[in-house]
């Protein structure tokens, strides 16, 4: 197994107070490695999205640590956390969250613009990432003119544009038909995953389990088991 990408230790997260207090994640520990595609699977309300948010520096845990590149990300300041998300993590949201009023290439260029690259340079680089996902010819179209699968690929291009070490997919197949969903994950596995990158996917779509290296099953905020994928 390659080097460690993420190390989570005893992560706890609750919502609400007093009698309304609910534990979404209860003392979860796990590790994810570079070159690995790790699935977090479980029913709705099992805590997988909360866990993913804590790993990606979006949601502060009540207790526990998340170590990425030898640093506990929750010891960082809010600005450092924003930099961490920009430089180390790439997000592919369930609903993609592409800006409908921008062109496809402008959407892909957003992380580069946030990294303070010049506009023209951002667009040039964004075109390269669109080429990787096979949508160069769609660069000047608004995302609404693209199919669901194409929008998903634009979101992937945007996520990899900042060359992150960790890629996070939230229910990547939820808005796609089975065939397109499988094609997307297959594409990600073959073209996006590499030995310097770790991909974490939250899903409950068993049709794409065959692409996972490991599948971590969550229930009631706890890890109930870890299986090898590809079966």
């Amino acid at each position: 197994m390659a080097g460690m990408a993420v190390q989570a230790r005893e992560l706890v997260k609750s919502f609400g107070e007093g009698e309304a207090k609910t534990f979404a994640v209860r003392g979860v520990s796990f590790e994810a490695h570079f070159g690995e595609m790790l699935y977090i699977e479980g029913p709705s309300g099992s805590g997988k999205t909360t866990l993913l948010s804590m790993i990606s520096g979006i949601l502060r845990p009540d207790s526990g640590t998340v170590v990425v590149e030898d640093k506990d990300i929750w010891s960082l300041t809010s600005d450092q956390l924003a930099d961490f998300r920009l430089n180390t993590v790439g997000f592919v949201f369930q609903d993609y969250h592409l800006f409908p009023r921008l062109t496809t290439v402008e959407n892909v260029a957003i992380p580069l613009i946030l990294k303070k690259l010049e506009w023209n340079e951002s667009m040039t680089q964004a075109m390269r990432y669109l080429e990787i996902v096979g949508l160069r010819d769609r660069a000047q179209l608004p995302p609404v003119k693209l199919s669901g699968g194409e929008q998903q690929r634009v979101a992937i291009a945007r996520a990899i544009a900042s060359q992150p070490d960790i890629l996070i997919f939230d229910e990547p197949t939820a808005s796609l038909d089975g065939d397109t969903g499988r094609k997307i994950v297959d594409f990600v596995k073959k073209n996006i995953l590499n030995e310097n990158r770790c991909i974490l996917i939250v899903t409950h779509d068993s049709r794409i389990f065959e692409y996972a290296d490991r599948i971590m099953r969550m229930e009631d905020g706890e890890i109930k088991g870890v299986e090898k994928g590809g079966q």
């Binding site: 948010s53 990606s56 949601l59 998300r85 920009l86 800006f99 009023r101 921008l102 613009i113 506009w119």
Partner: protein, 378 residues
Amino acid sequence: MKGILKIAYKLLVNDKGKFAALLIGITFATFLMNMVTSMFAGILLKSSSTVINIGAKIWVMDPAVNTVQNSIPMPDYILDAVRSINGVRFAVPLYSGAALVRLRNGVYQSVSILGLDDASLFGRPELMQGHIEDIYSDNAFIVVKDAEFPKLGNPKIGTGFEVNDHTGVIVGIARVTTGGLFGVPTLYTTYSRAVQYLPSTRYTISYILVEPKSTGDVQHIKEQVKSMGYVALTKDEFMQKIANFYKYQTGVGTNILLMTAISFIVGLSISGQTFYTFILENLEKFGALKAIGARGYELVYMILFQTAFTSFIGYGLGIGLSTLLITIAKLRLPSYAAIITYRNLGMAFIMVLVIAGISSYIGVRKVIRIEPFDIFRG
């Protein structure tokens, strides 16, 4: 920062419907505010037209006078007393009153009559036709060729009329800087003829026009006049007094204030509501930007840029539109009162900034509060 502002610009202008609605809101508000305040500025300017046209540096009058038209006559000895004040280069009487003239065709027409000091003719208008010395000839009057001139039947030199059973003859046609407010023609004659022709009270001097030897003498002159029970106002002070009368004692000012406030509220409602909808529609995207790594201040800059951009464009369009309308109106109606002043432009700009500020606040508050985690939760 330039790149993120370019993104903000594209998000704004590519949403054509909302951008248009925002522009319409700001433009409409600016247009209304500028029209209303310009009309008021024009009315105030015209209400001081005699003060501007006569051009005296100091006006002596009864303290109860509020406007040029409502003068309270002063006794002749006040003129002598003013002339004897140290620092007065000269002081002359002015008659200001209204009369009915009977035109050749039998039509009666109200006019405003100004009687100039016989010796100096101080405050005389610039003549377009005729010679100023003709004002000393029998029954002589000079008519002002302004927007009200046609009401006298477009008189020519030699045209006769009757005023208070006296014959009057036009001996000159003049122009003045500013037309009057009340829509009546203006006639100039000598002070002595004015008091001779027009029914008057025991006292006949409407105003005493004073030229000080130097600006340093103005304060002393004012104090001396005050000790006589009268008031001496500089040209600007008199204009301000007239303006204050119309603003605060006639209800015109209150109505203008209300109209301006309504314009502001309408603009704020349209722009604020549209911008709020715009932000709500893009809220998840802003949340996604936050998740991706945008810092809070970058999102705030985006929103401030969007509101500032819309406001400046809308302000420019509103001012342009009102200027165009006023220009067209003035071409069609020479007596149209509206005048655009720097103060009005500044006030409308401040109001637009307030609209932009409130709209920004609504947007910023929403965007600052959105948590990236909400994006994951859906």
